[in-house]
């Protein structure tokens, strides 16, 4: 098993913890987190693992920090 820290932002915090550690089986990917937390793919517009952009099929490693944002912008 691996442990991954999840950080959620903006509207994704509604009814969810803004930071949590979850346990996943070896070989789990980002999409498994979305499923576990009931976040749609459209709502996960920006995904960072350890501060770097990542895709849904990216395989997670123990102690990864995963930051997930809904579609957002500014400037």
């Amino acid at each position: 098993m691996i442990h991954v820290k999840i950080r959620l932002f903006a509207t994704l915090r509604e009814n969810r913890d803004k930071e949590t550690v979850i346990e996943l089986s070896e070989g789990a990917a980002v999409k498994d987190i979305l499923e576990r937390l009931d976040i749609s793919r459209e709502d996960a517009a920006i995904i960072l693992i350890n501060g770097r952009g990542a895709k849904l099929d990216r395989i997670l490693e123990d102690n990864d920090i995963v930051s997930i944002f809904p579609p957002l912008g500014g400037g």
Binding site: R7, F9, A10, T11, R13, A45, I46, L48, G51, R52, G53, S67, F69, P70, P71, L72, G73, G74, G75
Partner: protein, 579 residues
């Protein structure tokens, strides 16, 4: 729109001419930059008699097109020495357009020391002596109140604050918004140009003005509807900006390791929760009172990224409380209290200074030992000294480059003497190319590569790699120059970047208004031509490719947490303008 108003401050004369043929099809930045290139001597001193200041509404301003109320202001910049266009919300642009005024030009300078107010209405343009009670350190909030009482509550106002009167190169031009608060043409020191010409304020009253003529009203309405739908159906322009404001970027850039901190010595902070957009939203909601989570800076804005931030008792402190200001004071200067930052933001608006330039200068001053890291109360006091001005006020008001020199620093985040804004160019490489090559010094809004580097809007490019960044920075600068000419808020980009129909609708609105048949390729050509005009002015003013470089420290000081440096070669950087 056929009136071209020229005000000669040397003779205190007014001429209202027909718009010259060559400017008839231009608006906003395309018009201001063409005019400055045509009539301003590139080597002139920006605060001398040969500089000219021009105000122009965008092509679509004054119509019912959503978000089309931006006013462009142009001149040679006293901060950078380059050509400058700075645009702002407020009601000024739409009033000018409805009155049929294509441009307002101010030239020359009076021999005496008096300040003046230009008063424009449907019957006349007059040059009045400024009321003494708005001069000599009076803040913009009070001055706008006094001018509104004198000239009418609904008039539009452009004003140079105390910093503009003192001709400091960080002085902005502030515009009255629909509620009497302040929006700003912030960057490049155009308030100092206004002050040098002894114009304290310009008041515009559109009572009696008709509607902007539209060649094909039916087509215009249809296109406007499609455009509004594109903005509203995109999650960023339709929802995200209204909910969290631009400050939502604090957490995104912090997680991405690109949030410049403690004068660009790191890309991440620990106190992000104190200053984030999520906290801003929650604070406004909890405090209630005058607080508004969402607010439009000009009539017809449907994105509503602005907000009213109240104090603990619910009383209004400031509006238009932007990410860049909160970043520079919160992350780059280490101030951990959002209320402290809000009071400093209000003071900067009131004094009439660029809230990016001053806040970056504050962080640089902290690095240089002039101020203490994180001391918000001391910063507020120092910023207020600009209105007096004390020597410290003048130093801060001189901008980041001046502060860096005064403090003997090499880590001075400027390009062409303009402070680098809220995205570190080492881990977010696309924006670094924009900072380096933009025609107006370091300016994120001149080619917002954050969209495709970080936000996954319009493109998906790895911000830590060089691949694809040159072409992207070029395309973003060209597109932005075109959008800046329409009167549109730049944030419409979020709604149309991934929506071909929305983009086409923007072009269709221009075509319907002017009876044209422009294509997307024509719009690109307009953007290219604006950039080429601006670059030619800069070249004639003495700028070369060697000025298109980031400060050297970015090349040898790695930025944690990714520990990367700026690694584009000069030859690669020069490719951005190879078109």
């Amino acid at each position: 729109m056929n009136k071209f108003i020229r005000i000669d401050m040397t003779s205190l004369g007014v001429k209202i001419e027909e718009t010259p043929e060559k400017y008839a099809g231009l608006g906003g930045r395309a018009l201001t930059s063409s005019f400055v290139a045509d009539e301003v001597k590139p080597t002139c001193h920006a605060l001398g008699k040969n500089n000219k200041l021009i105000f122009a509404p965008g092509l679509l301003s004054g119509t019912s097109a959503p978000n089309s109320g931006r006013i462009s202001v142009g001149a040679k910049s006293p901060l950078t020495g380059t050509i400058k266009e700075s645009n702002s919300g407020g009601s000024f642009s739409q009033k000018m357009a409805r009155m049929g005024i294509k441009a307002l030009v101010i030239e020359g300078m009076p021999a005496n020391d008096k300040f003046y107010v230009i008063n424009i209405n449907m019957n006349s343009v007059t040059i009045d002596e400024a009321p003494p009670e708005i001069l000599g350190g009076t803040g913009n909030y009070k001055a706008i109140e006094i001018l509104s009482a004198k000239y009418g509550e609904k008039v539009g106002i452009a004003i140079a604050g105390p910093a503009g009167e003192y001709r400091l190169p960080t002085a902005n031009i502030s515009f009255k918004d629909p509620e009497g608060n302040i929006r700003s043409a912030g960057r490049g020191g155009l308030g100092a140009v206004m002050g040098s010409k002894k114009i304290k304020a310009i008041v515009i009253d559109d009572t009696g003005a008709g509607q902007v003529p539209i060649a094909d009203l039916e087509k215009f309405r249809a296109a406007s509807k499609v455009f509004a739908q594109a903005l509203m159906s995109h999650p960023v322009s339709g929802q995200g900006l209204a909910t969290y404001g631009t400050d939502v970027l604090i957490n995104i850039l912090n997680e991405a390791g690109g949030l410049p901190s403690y004068n660009f010595t790191a890309g991440r902070i620990d106190h992000n929760d104190n200053i984030s957009g999520e906290t801003l939203n929650a604070t406004i909601t909890d405090r209630g009172g005058d607080g508004k989570v969402s607010h439009g800076c000009h009539p017809g804005c449907i994105i509503k990224c602005s907000q009213w931030y109240p104090d603990k008792e619910g009383k209004y402190i400031t509006s238009g409380f932007e990410y860049e200001t909160i970043w520079a004071l919160g992350a780059d200067s280490g101030i951990k209290d959002l209320d402290d930052i809000a009071y400093i933001d209000r003071a900067m608006d009131d004094i009439g200074v660029d809230s990016i330039e001053i806040a970056v200068a504050v962080a640089t001053a902290m690095d240089g030992g002039l101020l203490t890291w994180g001391d918000g109360k001391a910063v507020l006091d120092a910023v207020k000294q600009i209105a007096i001005p004390t020597p410290l006020g003048r130093i801060l008001g001189g901008g980041t480059a001046v502060v860096g020199k005064v403090c003997g620093l090499y880590r001075v985040p400027v390009v062409k003497d303009q402070g680098i804004p809220a995205y570190d160019p080492r881990p977010v490489k696309g924006i670094g190319l924009t900072y380096a090559t933009g025609t107006m010094g370091a300016d994120h809004t001149s080619g917002y590569c954050i969209a495709g580097n970080i936000l996954n809007v319009g493109a998906k490019i790895d911000p830590l790699k060089k691949d694809g960044q040159i072409e992207y920075a070029r395309a973003m600068q060209i597109g932005t120059a075109a959008v800046d000419s329409t009167g549109m808020c730049l944030f419409v980009y979020f709604g149309i970047a991934d929506s071909p129909d929305g983009y086409q609708a923007l072009i269709d609105m221009i075509n319907a208004q002017y009876g044209l048949s422009l294509t997307a390729a024509d719009v690109d050509k307009l953007g290219e031509s604006v950039l080429k005009t601006e670059r030619a002015f800069n070249k004639a003013a003495g700028f070369t490719n060697a000025h298109d470089r980031l400060p050297e420290f970015f090349e040898y000081e790695p930025c944690p947490p990714h520990n990367v440096v700026w690694d584009f070669t000069p030859e690669e950087i020069d490719e951005v303008y190879n078109f």
